[in-house]
């Protein structure tokens, strides 16, 4: 059975803050910090936005592009995030209700740092491939946290993308997926803690680079392909620097990663990062395009996907929802005070 992407939708909040503005508050050369991380600006959710609203917006855009799909035929919804609004009470049920997919379906929230969205795609592939469900929805979305003044504050942003996985009218066939997973404590947040902690430089070589390159090489071996066989590639992007470096290490060119690299303009959307990068590629994709995808989640693991865009993308109603270029076109810049207010970093009276 051919399993793949039937539709997709992406959403990023409208507000932005620049690294120089964050640095101004903490007595750091923010511009240099941004340059080092390859981050020009990051998205900021408005006070009434969270993972539920971002995931819903992405899912509604996804459904708008396939008016022929009855939401009642969706058998599973998984929302991957590390900033679910509730510790107990699923985001996925609210999203499901918002696209009128309830009640004959299963749902759950997933968490695997920045790769819970791609883990959801894998789960949906299994359910669709086994015939258990007709369609599954996998969403990666975050309103990620970075402690005030910490390096993460320059990158942690908000956004998400949703994927309708099925076996009919597939616009992008997923040829294969595989994962590389180990117990590597490079980044974590304990229950009840507002901000994550990380291992500094430890998040690089033994964590991000080891897992991404291992999963990517396993995929190239499994498919018998080389980087030059792909038209586009997207890697997890906690900043602009890591995916650019890992692409070069693996032998991918800057042209191959250009559409999938959004972090320099929107920051690190965590679980939303690879799903958004893939959405940006699909916004530009033509029939026959081959796409290489490798996510990364701290803790740690990487999911790799080999994808081929099908002829069905020509008849796909992409214009029924805005493409990312349009969504990102008209940002509103905020200063640190507004950012602190929006992110609820200011303690208000009861």
């Amino acid at each position: 059975m051919e399993v793949g992407i039937v539709s997709y939708g992406a959403y990023v909040p409208r507000y932005r803050i620049k690294p120089e503005e964050i640095g101004r508050i903490w007595g750091v050369d923010g511009k240099a910090m941004g340059k080092g991380l390859m981050i020009n600006q990051k998205s900021v959710p408005s006070p009434d936005e969270d993972v539920v609203t971002i995931a819903t917006e992405a899912a509604r855009f996804m459904m708008a592009r396939v008016p022929e799909v009855d939401p009642q035929d969706i058998g599973a919804i998984y929302v991957g995030s590390e900033s679910h609004p509730y510790a107990v009470k699923p985001t996925a049920t609210i999203v499901a209700e918002s696209i009128e997919a309830t009640p004959a379906m299963t749902a759950a929230d997933l968490e695997f740092a920045c790769k819970a969205g791609t883990a959801g795609i894998q789960a949906c592939m299994g359910l669709v491939g086994s015939g258990m469900v007709r369609y599954g929805v996998a969403i990666g979305a975050d309103t990620s946290q970075g402690a005030p003044g910490d390096a993460l504050e320059y990158s942690a942003s908000a956004g998400g993308a949703a994927y309708l996985i099925g076996s009919e009218n597939v616009i992008a066939k997923i040829n294969r997926t595989l994962s590389f997973t180990t117990d590597t404590p490079d980044f974590w947040r304990r229950e009840g803690q507002p901000y994550p902690l990380h291992g500094g430089r430890f998040t690089g070589e033994p964590a991000y680079f080891r897992h991404v390159t291992s999963a990517a090489k396993m995929m190239l071996d499994a498919m018998g392909t080389q980087p030059s066989d792909y038209d586009h590639a997207v890697f997890h992007q906690p900043n602009g620097k890591f995916p650019t470096r890992v692409a070069k290490q693996l032998g991918f060119t800057p042209e191959q990663i250009q559409y999938g690299l959004l972090t320099p303009e929107i920051g690190n959307t965590y679980s939303g990062a690879v799903p958004l990068g893939l959405a940006s590629i699909l916004d530009h994709a033509k029939p026959g395009d081959r796409i290489f995808v490798t996510s990364y989640g701290s803790g740690a693991g990487s999911d790799a996907f080999d994808i081929t865009v099908t002829d069905a993308i020509s008849g796909y109603k992409r214009d029924r929802a805005p493409v990312l270029e349009k969504i990102l076109a008209d940002p509103v810049y905020v200063d640190y005070g507004i950012y602190a207010k929006f992110k609820e970093k200011i303690v208000m009276p009861e």
């Binding site: 408005s46 006070p47 539920v52 917006e57 918002s98 509103v332 609820e344 009861e350």
Partner: protein
Amino acid sequence: MASVAKEWREIPGRYNLIGTKCGNCGKIFFPSRDFCPVCRRKGIGKIEKYKVARTGEVYTFTVIYDAPDANVRQKPYAAAMVRTDDGILISGQLVDVDLDKIEIGMRVRAVLRKLDSDGASGVIHYGFKFVPEL
């Protein structure tokens, strides 16, 4: 704390603009009603579910400077009456908009946003707000 059951009953309208329509006279109700005040007895048993269009235009609007607690982080903010594409007038907050660029007739669409929550430990209430059409 608001009643969880009351909020739960309002989910179809708040998330998906689901109202009702009288099968006798065709009048649309949003928020939904299960009785048609026009047809009265003739409408009984003929009230159907009706999904109001999520797009429309600003019919009139105002800017609010003295906000309730739920919106204190967003003030000043706009509230608008929106004439949906199927002719229904709905009131809601208009967000992600430059306040000096709002105009009567401006195209908007309904999105899901946080409306309020019952404190830090209580239920979060989601519902529609309007944003400019992309």
